[in-house]
Amino acid sequence: MISDAVYTLLFYAIAIITIVFALAVTMSRNLLRAAVYLMMVLLTTASLYIMLDAEFLAGIQVLIYVGGIVVLIVFAVMLTKSAEMLDRPPLRRKLSAGLASLVFAAVTICVFWTSRFPIAQNHVAVPPNNTEEIGLKLLDYGSGGYILPFEIISILLLAAIIGGIVVARKTPPPEQPFTTGGDLTGEADFDAPHTQRPRTGKHI
């Protein structure tokens, strides 16, 4: 009973903290700070996962999300000197974004509030240690196993890393410094047509 009460309290407390940090992520003008708030959100969410009996997930959240993604974001913020530029969206955009997200939130909350989900009865036993279960399932070839997505995600990560490297690789700087807002047509990207090497191909 007490634990239930504490659970409830904790839930609301963490929820509010999470929401506040989340708002801070979206509203903070300094991106570096926003990244820190994002880290906080992710951490509080991890604690929520623990409350949902998903300890392994919480661990992964901390490891990958906090340890990986946020660090990546911070690097990106640094690399793009974004922290030096304050992010002040125009009011119009804020209003439209606010309106859209409010409507979305309202609709979604209404839907969730009115829908009935097939809640499992309490007597269903919650496996005590689902980390093992997860591990087993991830490598299971059988009917309940997830070896296939596991392999796919590895390919995905490989592809993403390759792509990331290629795109982010240093390139020679452009000949003319680029001016934003300029009208750049497609032709400007190419050198003048000149053919130094022997051309192959038929004339058809």
């Binding site: 007490i2 929820a15 999470t18 989340a22 959100v41 919650v126």
Partner: protein, 110 residues
């Protein structure tokens, strides 16, 4: 007080509402941020809320299995991949244009 708290132990709706709010906040950030990296952070928020959603469903709807958690794991990994790709693109753009302000990303428009 304790009794009422214990009686109002958060049910699935509460978890869902929380995730919906987080999603909406992420959406707000997505729609309002000027900095691309800021937008990416908002997207991470949205993904995070989806993960929360999955975990909650797993807990309430199918506590006997771990499918939801596994899916959540995959989502986290996907989010990481997405972040990698996005950051790479942002950095590349920054190299070339010295900005990552999406408001000024309008070379192509009608």
């Amino acid at each position: 007080m304790i009794e009422s708290l214990s009686l109002h132990k958060p049910h699935i709706e509460h978890w869902l509402v929380l995730s919906a709010i987080l999603f909406a906040i992420g959406l707000y950030g997505l729609l309002s941020r000027r900095n691309a990296i800021g937008i990416l952070m908002s997207i991470e928020l949205m993904l995070n809320s989806a993960v929360l959603n999955l975990a909650a469903f797993n807990r309430f709807v199918a506590p006997a299995s771990v499918d939801g958690q596994i899916m959540a794991l995959f989502v986290i990994a996907v989010a990481a991949a997405e972040a990698v790709v996005a950051m790479a693109i942002f950095v590349a753009i920054f190299r070339y244009r010295r900005i990552v302000d999406v408001n000024r990303m309008d070379l192509m428009k009608d």
